[in-house]
Amino acid sequence: MSGEAHTTRDELTARRGSHLFGRMRPSGVMVAVLSTLIVFGLIGLVVVNAPGFDRVQQAFFDPALFQRSLPLLIASLWVNIQMFLIAEVAILVLALVLAIMRSLPGPVFFPFRLMAITYIEFFRAVPGILIIYILGYGIPGLRIPGLVIEPFFWGVVALVLVWSAYVAEVYRAGIDAIHPSQESAARSLGLSRVQGLRYVVLPQAVRRVIPPLLNDFIGLQKDTALVSFIGVIEVFRRSQIVAGGAFNFTPYVVCALLFILMTIPMARLVDYLAVRDRRRQLAGAVGR
């Protein structure tokens, strides 16, 4: 493999826009900087000179309130982090079960396929917030003795139900992408269907779907804010409380910033994995 091949590959990556600057030449960087300054400068001018700018600035960007609400909100963010970490583990397992159920061939497994498909269609169709309401208020309302009534618990359950439907489809796409000849090869060696799935198909499928999977997890992270609607005091509800007390929207801005900060590592990981995968595929093609 020559150095030239590497350049072409990086240029290819740059052209697809994965890297912000890609392989720009110095003159290109200059143009980019200049153009950026002009565009953002103009937008800034329009906003700052808007008639209501002073009021908006005060309502959304109060420095004192920013400082005061930041530690409070960070403390509450921990609730969101707990929610999505617990949910992610459960989703990975439940979605895999659903995807496998949906991929089982033959007439014998028809009821399992039917169950999986019904589940996925249902939870993808109904807005997540409704599931959160129904579980969060409905189930504790049954007053079954000994049943958990914590809104945190039912909020997490609702997130798991909704997002595992999406993630199951991601898994299934990965399983479908593995050529049937791989399963043939496994079965021809005497491996059972389950063994073929476990040792041959799934390891390849999961590797392929890690980037889209992480992408769904970013969506899940944001959806943890919805659980506030059944009474969990997490970062969004805390922002509402602080904002309400101060008659000022600044805590919402802080809240948004925290969500962005929380998402950045995941987004960068997705990009990194996508680029690495593309490299590997190209390398594989060269090696052949």
């Binding site: 090869a185 079965r187 021809s188 060696l189 005497g190 491996l191 063994q195 590797r207 390398a283």
Partner: protein, 257 residues
């Protein structure tokens, strides 16, 4: 023939009776009969689409058959309640497109089935793989992933993977068809060696020269049955059937014989 050999106490390694297989409206095999004795090397030839690959896939039950019976060492494998996984342990198959597992090293590919299916302990499975790899000149590729190997090396690794299960019969499905011409010889050498040491082989092939060298018997598939069969010297030089003659004529004019 089956009855005769059974009376001598040595059943055929493989016997097929009246095999039918259709894909939708397309009837690929129409009552095919074939017997293969132990240590015999049988080459299947025939035009593309004549059913060579389908026949091999039926033999190791990768395709469900519509009618007929298949016996391995005199025991029917197509009856009801047969454990297909147990059958497949005894019948190895190597595919045209290698089908190595890309996420495993060569060693991982070879030891997967011995460990998971035969439940061999890891050291034993590794040892078995090492011996085979050494024999087929792949010892230094043990820890490589398949995409780092040449086509010929990949196909040899696939043969080793099938042999690691110590099958009674090895099926080879056009195993050189996907290879660059200069890589064909190294794979054929492996097959020659397997034949020489008495492995029972059934191979679908377009390599007529190789079939002539290595096979005890050549079967010409046409219209979903074995139209004609015989020792290579007879079948290739003096075929009885007009269809066989036409097929061989085309092969010769293509410079493949």
């Amino acid at each position: 023939m089956t009855a005769l050999q059974e009376s001598r106490g040595a059943p055929d390694a493989l016997a097929i009776e009246g095999l039918h297989k259709s894909f939708g409206a397309l009837e690929v095999l129409r009552g095919l009969d074939l017997t293969v004795a132990e240590h015999e090397v049988v080459a299947l030839i025939g035009a593309s689409g004549s059913g060579k690959s389908t026949l091999l896939r039926c033999i190791n039950l990768l395709e469900e058959i519509d009618a007929g019976r298949i016996f391995i060492e005199g025991i029917e494998i197509t009856g009801r309640g047969v454990n297909v996984d147990r059958v497949r342990r005894r019948i190895g198959i190597v595919f045209q497109s290698f089908n190595l597992f890309p996420h495993m090293t060569v060693l991982g590919n070879i030891t997967l089935a011995p460990r998971q299916v035969l439940k061999l302990p890891k050291p034993e499975a590794d040892e078995r793989a090492r011996t085979l790899l050494e024999r087929f000149g792949l010892a230094d590729k043990r820890d490589e992933y398949p995409d780092r190997l040449s086509g010929g090396q990949q196909q040899r690794a696939a043969i080793v993977r099938a042999m690691a299960m110590q099958p009674d019969v090895l099926l080879l499905d056009e195993i050189t068809a996907a290879l660059d011409p200069e890589l064909v010889a190294e794979v054929l050498d492996v097959i020659r060696e397997l034949a020489a040491e008495g492995m029972t082989l059934v191979l679908a092939t377009h390599e007529m020269g190789f079939a002539r060298d290595v096979a005890d018997r050549i079967c010409f598939l046409d219209g979903g049955v074995i139209l004609e069969q015989g020792p290579p010297s007879e079948l290739l030089s003096d075929p009885r059937e007009e269809r066989t003659r036409q097929f061989l004529q085309r092969i010769i004019s293509a410079g493949r014989l």
